[in-house]
Symmetry: C2
């Protein structure tokens, strides 16, 4: 499963300054000197689609910052049941939430790049970076809000509300990062979407079909979605 063996470890040399998530990641609050100290303990690593960055239950030796690509956070149950508890995009931190072990696995969906920090070294450094500690606290509070929203979705929404909510969130995210808020690329497959929304792939597929037939969305291939009626989509997220 976990193919840690053949990952490339890229030596760092003033890379933070040119980092693609320099402006949005947790380290964005650091000054040049602090950033240099952080960089001194960090490594850049790459993973291919399907590879695990870490596995649920492992000793959480590292904390990661995703700089390129998309990953899924996965929890497993006997019987092959799977729940995706979140998708991470560039700028997101992974591996902070633990109980003495990683509480979920992190798997690359696309080719990814991460910034890897030895956990204890990062936590030690954090004690000298008050601004970054505050930043992390805010990030954690935000993630908690998102998790609560997802609990509402999983516990009380119908399949069509779930899918609409999922698409609507991606649109907002897309809008915030400067891209068109009416077009989104789904880098994850239907089965990832199903395991994120607590549905089967068949139900996800049927729901996409229904949204297409109702002309709320247009599908160009399986991974590109155009939202024709954003207001209607928003209505569907909390249908009566």
């Amino acid at each position: 499963m976990n193919q840690h063996s053949n990952v490339r470890i890229i030596p760092r040399a003033g890379l933070c300054e040119t980092c693609k998530v320099r402006e949005i990641a947790a380290c964005s609050v650091l000054d040049k000197d602090e950033l240099a100290r952080l960089e001194a303990v960090s490594k850049t690593r790459t993973f291919e689609p399907g590879q695990a960055i870490f596995d649920e239950g492992e000793d959480p030796r590292f904390i990661y910052n995703l700089t390129e690509g998309t990953i899924r956070l996965v929890k497993l149950l006997p019987n092959g049941r799977r729940q995706i508890v979140g998708f991470n995009f560039p700028g997101d931190m992974m591996g902070l939430a633990t109980h003495g072990f990683y509480t979920c696995s992190a798997e690359a969906i696309t080719p990814i790049k991460v910034c890897q920090f030895p956990r204890q070294q990062l936590l030690d450094l954090l004690e000298t970076f008050p601004s970054m500690k505050t930043r992390l606290l805010n990030i954690a509070a935000d993630e908690l809000s998102e998790a609560q929203e997802q609990m509402l979705l999983l516990g009380r929404k119908s399949p069509i509300e779930k899918v609409a909510s999922f698409l609507y969130r991606l649109c907002q995210e897309s809008g915030r990062t400067g891209d068109s808020e009416n077009e989104i690329d789904l880098v994850m497959g239907r089965s990832d979407i199903a395991d994120y929304l607590g549905l089967t792939i068949e139900t996800v597929s049927r729901t996409f079909t229904k949204l297409r037939n109702d002309e709320v969305i247009t599908l160009e291939g399986n991974h590109h979605v155009i939202v024709n009626d954003m207001d209607h989509l928003e209505d569907i997220t909390e249908e009566v």
Copy 2:
């Protein structure tokens, strides 16, 4: 709904020192001097069962620390649908997770006492309390782990697995706080349990009955549960 009007505001006078959650709450890491400064901005308030401490969507002016009693964190959907995203017990912080507004309501289940801090004053103080900021970061990370576990439960577990998981967690909590880990008091009603587990009250009731008939648990009244076979209960939490 929200009956803020008739709550009692109790003046503080060195109360932190005798606080019942002094050893477990986030403020436990503070020294005497720091505690005095924290206490200076705090108020103690009490609420009766059913009263809201704050409501979803409100301006998050305060952060709270629960010192006595039990509260539920609630999110609502049109159609009367409700999801309880968590229960809080003495020592828990409330109101940290926000997006510029409270992301859920907090309602007293039992009579409660809280310690109320003006949000910005607490955040300002936090900048001078590095140890408490670290503590809060750890607490937030823990809550995130719990939220992920709850997503797994809501998205992928069967009713009996959900109820068993719920009871099993309460037993562990009970064990950690020094009480018997085989007996628990359910302060919340069946409808709170249902809305926490993403089920209907009927299904919760039937599932309790099944666990009783299978002699996994014994019910003494509706609110006191004795676990007869903890290993069996644990097995049921992830049945194949």
